[in-house]
Symmetry: C2
Subunit: 351 residues, 2 copies
Amino acid sequence: MARKKVTSKDVAKAAGVSQATVSYVLNNVDRANISEKTRLHVQQIARDLGYTPNVVARSLVQGRSINIGMALFHPHEQIFIDSWLPNILTGFGSVIQQYGFRLLVERVNDKQQYESIINLLHGHEVAGMVVQSTLGSEFISTELINQGIPVVIFGSLSEHIHYSVSSDNLTGVRTLINHLIGLGHQRIACISYAPEGTVEHASDRLTTYYETLAAAGISPDPSLVRFGAFDPFTGYEAMRDLLRCKPRPTAVFGMNDTMAIAAMAAIQEAGLRVPEDIAVVGFDDDRFAAFTTPSLTTIHESQREIGHHAGEMLIDLLNDVKPAVPNLILPTQLVVRKSCGAHLTQQDLVP
Amino acid sequence: MARKKVTSKDVAKAAGVSQATVSYVLNNVDRANISEKTRLHVQQIARDLGYTPNVVARSLVQGRSINIGMALFHPHEQIFIDSWLPNILTGFGSVIQQYGFRLLVERVNDKQQYESIINLLHGHEVAGMVVQSTLGSEFISTELINQGIPVVIFGSLSEHIHYSVSSDNLTGVRTLINHLIGLGHQRIACISYAPEGTVEHASDRLTTYYETLAAAGISPDPSLVRFGAFDPFTGYEAMRDLLRCKPRPTAVFGMNDTMAIAAMAAIQEAGLRVPEDIAVVGFDDDRFAAFTTPSLTTIHESQREIGHHAGEMLIDLLNDVKPAVPNLILPTQLVVRKSCGAHLTQQDLVP
DNA sequence: ATACTTTACTTATACGTATAAGTAAAGTGA
DNA sequence: TCACTTTACTTATACGTATAAGTAAAGTAT
């Protein structure tokens, strides 16, 4: 079937030199003192024969893979439901590609989490890993780091462990809730993107939501909290349920834009107006957030930058360089659009 | 740093047998006639030492990688702008994972398209590939298939080449346009997701758009066509431009949901109503399509199934099995929601 | 009892590369 | 001229595995 693979030995034979010489020439090994004449000759033959080095053999002898693994913990259905992961993948991929690495995407079931990652690393398939922040990632990273294996955690962390890149998402939550409070809201509902206890940062964000309300003198009301599951449908259902509360919430905080957008649909379908009857805010600054009706007020997370920095940090670790900032926390940003009603309030102030 | 890697030789020494025996035991090679006693003993020792086979060495000796490459041609910015690719990745990944393969994601710049893929394959990094359908993928696949290399093309194809999985997207376009025509529309604008000539299926969809109009006796009007670039902003801008047409189009066909949703935003921002003033339809059935206001009429493509079938086809090829259907074309489906105005028309019919 | 088969392993080799160590010839300095 | 260095290579080995080929002991058939 496939035409026979050209090896460095074939090139050597055709060029009338040893295999070692071919290797030295093609890897530009200076200390080998290959003459210009031989060098050009070998290069020419290699080109003529269409030689491509066998990456597997090279990895074996060098004891290092050119692959970098990305471990993703969400069940298949949820992995790509938000644009954050694709964004991170883009940012991360472009960095490691520059350094000659390739990206091995590993989706991990909860059950064999740890084992699967260990296999990747011990099997020498990957030189290092980025691991999505999730429940248990601290344990995993500690374990791996103790073994001297290059691992970077990325995502939304609460505790800042070595090595990690995350966004300052709790400050984001605080900013968002305070923004609503500043607009005069007292009954602020919350749609979490995961059932209690399943996703670490969901719990953290929820806690921060409670704390921020309390700090403003508003006693938090657990009956205004619903739990979705990342996707629009659960956000929609959660909102329909919230609409049954008496008195109704005057504002809703969706933990991601996906669910916030679906919540707006539920509100509008019920004949109510956003933001006049109920204000809505999201989190992530999804690509659609600016193009919904009304446009969505949200927190901008630099997802692609998280990926980018995670890539650079991992490259550092692979080169035995201690990263300057072992746990990088990128700032988030409040993006005020129409769904929170801030523009209405401003109009009121300019009569 | 990293604690020393346990090899099969280490296991052999600890178990008091040869390395070959370890290999035979752990791979369950029947013809090697390993006694039950030795088998259990070796397995125990392997477990105790935490042995993990070195996948790289195994690939080298077997001449086959356990990685499968996925070649993506869009520039970084565009790869993940729609949910179709994540969906395909999910469908594909779950299949090959079942068969013990891992997924190597390779983003390819236009310039060195071909070379990059060839390197992946010749470098023995991957056992086979799935290649995103795009301009030039026919050339690439023909070339690779001639060399006996397992390759499956996926996406939206016009010509059906071996081996490929695509959706019947041109029938989808026809259905969509005819749906609008059936609702009485004559001035149907189109927002293409790519500049003319850059993306194969964009041109195909555009041609089908023209043909369908012509077939219905509507003379196609190129002044109603705009070219975006996949993302919401370009869709928004294209729509704003279309709004300046006199007379205005009464309906708009967005080549993907992303741009169609943004087009709705542009229309509503201009103080017009969807669908009363301008009807809008999209393509893809994005996860948000059901949750916009109004909800978006669109064509449902079974993206995850495309990935799934591409995975199964590739596994077949890797096992030297000729796939039953060498170019699989999955049906598309019209999903009628609110943005096209079909529900209004029905109300009119029931006075 | 001898020839042959089966059992249960071990020994040896190959995969394709990188690189340390070796070597012959040419060049250099005093 | 002789010792020493440099040049320009070649030879040899290692990476960790799979597997063909070899082998000693035990079992079986005649």
